[in-house]
């Protein structure tokens, strides 16, 4: 098995395990509480509106928006980590068919691994820093690495196909 395939397959399995553990922790300790919080905030906002207490209603709407901002990203982290892991394993299985040189294959595999770790990590950091430079840098840089690796892989498969 080539080094590039090992990076993709082992990296993918490790990332999938990490993503599943994160998902398990999230499902048991965070998700239900977060969903309850979102529902409660909206209900309380409208109940306050019915009582004509609009400043408090606004506070609940902002609370809802803040919780949803985190919820969307936490779900994205889980699904992207596992999705990227599956993609790495599948590409690892097929990587011999990518018409790229050995060193380029290794570079693509390393970029894919680095991007697949950094992109969801950046999204997770966004929930802590609410979009700080470091978090955005990880998310944007990671996704750029994944896209670049995928582009090169598609090029390799297309070259083999033609």
């Amino acid at each position: 098995m080539s080094t590039a395939r090992k990076i993709l397959i082992f990296g993918g399995v490790a990332l999938a395990l990490f993503g599943m553990l994160y998902g398990l922790h999230y499902a048991v300790f965070v998700e239900h509480q977060t969903l309850d919080g979102m529902g409660r905030s909206l209900t309380l906002a409208f109940t306050c509106g019915a009582a004509r207490n609009l400043p408090e209603a606004q506070g609940y709407i902002h609370g809802y928006a803040d919780t949803k901002y985190k919820y969307v990203r936490q779900v994205d982290v889980h699904s992207h980590w596992i999705g990227l892991a599956m993609l790495m394993i599948v590409l690892g299985a097929a990587f011999d068919s990518a018409a790229l040189g050995a060193s380029m294959q290794k570079l693509v595999a390393l970029s894919m691994l680095a991007g697949s770790i950094a992109f969801p990590l950046g999204v997770m950091l966004q929930t802590v820093t609410h979009g700080g430079a470091l978090a955005n840098g990880f998310a944007i840089g990671g996704s750029a690495l994944v896209i670049m690796s995928l582009g090169l892989t598609a090029f390799g498969f297309a070259r083999d196909a033609l």
């Binding site: 509106g49 009582a51 599956m86 011999d96 996704s143 995928l150 083999d160 196909a161």
Partner: protein, 386 residues
């Protein structure tokens, strides 16, 4: 029985591969033995994906839009309750919205979990040669995984209908228990396969325990590999564009709409409140189509790449094999593209997206029939093989 053999393209595979780039039946039989874990996972995987997609298509046609309409009506009732200063009616409306969201959410989850269990099954079929366990153990793990893959979406689907009826738990119903147990069964099976993988790579064994799935260089395989990767790339590019251009704007707009809705309801401006409810529904639809477009591009791409490995086991004429591949790729492009155009082109785009989904389902069933023919032919001539 474990088969020890060379795995490199220069080994047995390459020697047996015919000049056309297609494998011969002896080679196919050696890598796809009767009732093996690999065969079960390939069958089960394709069937689960086809089932998950069929459910998704039915959901999109018969449930999705109706559910959205009812949610909008419940939100409008909540604004009217605010205008009437009726706190208990507000609570009732939101309880109704919660039930509608649960109805929709469990159906989306059923579709996603059934399809994803299928993808995982195909993925597990690929790694079987590296799983250092006996044939019977592998088969048991495969059966456990597939049983969990069927029971998990069934359990999720039933959550909304069974609720907490006859449940001994305060917050978890029997359907959730079924879904969670099925999930646990799948985790145990995955852990078993992972243990086998670890054993294989920890040993200093040359080659694999059984032959890898054949890697031919047929047109079908190359088209699925390159087409699938391009679809995944398109999905990633679209996702990056969405998060850059629309995600934050959508989040800010949602807060603005809710504020306007509440202010209008509290000041008895019924028309403004109703418009805000419409705006809220439109925003939800805009988000939903972008996310559905993004995820379907990637999922269909992954499916195409996974199916490229199964091509040597589809015993159909070359013309039919190509037809199914073309149909699958065509449907894989049509569905996400027309989902994204749904808000611009309306029902026509929605219908074309559903047709795209149907094309993928038909292609999957066609390929599954080809795999069935392959196993039938191999098993019937089993005794004649060298």
């Amino acid at each position: 029985m474990a088969v020890w053999g060379p795995t490199s393209p220069q080994g047995l595979e390459a020697r047996l591969t015919q000049a056309s780039g297609r494998p011969n039946p002896v080679q196919v039989a050696g890598t796809f033995s009767a009732m093996s874990a690999k065969r079960l996972l390939v069958f089960g995987g394709i069937a689960l994906i086809a089932g998950g997609m069929l459910f998704g298509d039915i959901f999109a046609v018969f449930v999705l839009h109706q559910n959205g309409g009812e949610t909008g009506a419940a939100l409008l009732a909540a604004t009217q309750a605010v205008a009437a200063q009726d706190g208990s009616a507000v609570q009732k409306s939101f309880a109704h919205i919660g039930a509608l969201l649960e109805d929709r959410g469990t159906k989306v989850d059923t579709h996603v979990h059934m399809s994803d269990a299928g993808y995982l099954a195909l993925l597990l079929a690929l790694i079987q040669p590296y799983v250092a366990l006996g044939g019977a153990k592998k088969k048991l793990l495969a059966i456990m995984f597939l049983a969990g893959g069927v029971a998990l979406p069934v359990g999720i689907f039933l959550i909304h209908y069974v609720g907490l009826a006859h449940s001994p738990f305060a917050a978890i119903g029997w359907a959730s228990v079924l879904a969670d147990s099925a999930g646990a069964l799948m985790i145990v099976a995955l852990a078993g396969f992972a243990w086998g993988l670890l054993k294989h790579f920890a040993s200093k064994r040359e080659g694999t325990l059984e032959p890898e799935l054949i890697r031919d260089r047929s047109w079908e395989r190359r088209a699925l590999l390159s087409g699938g990767t391009l679809l995944i790339l398109a999905g990633f590019l679209h996702g990056a564009w969405y998060s850059w251009a629309q995600l934050y704007e959508h989040e800010a707009r949602e807060t603005r709409i809710l504020t306007t809705m509440l202010d209008a309801a509290a000041s008895n401006q019924a028309a403004v409140a109703a418009q805000s409810v419409n705006d809220f529904g439109m925003l939800a639809a805009q988000r939903a189509v972008q996310i559905a477009g993004h995820s379907h591009f990637i999922e269909f791409g992954l499916l195409a790449v996974l199916l490229s490995f199964v091509q040597p086991y589809i015993f159909l004429g070359a013309i039919w094999k190509r037809r199914w591949v073309k149909l699958l790729l065509l449907g894989s492009v049509l569905l996400p593209v027309f989902v994204l155009l749904e808000l611009k082109l309306g029902l026509v785009a929605g219908g074309l997206a559903d047709v795209g989904g149907l094309l993928v389902i038909v292609a999957l069933i066609g390929m599954l029939a080809g795999v069935l023919r392959c196993t039938g032919e191999l098993d019937s001539r089993d005794g004649e093989l060298p």
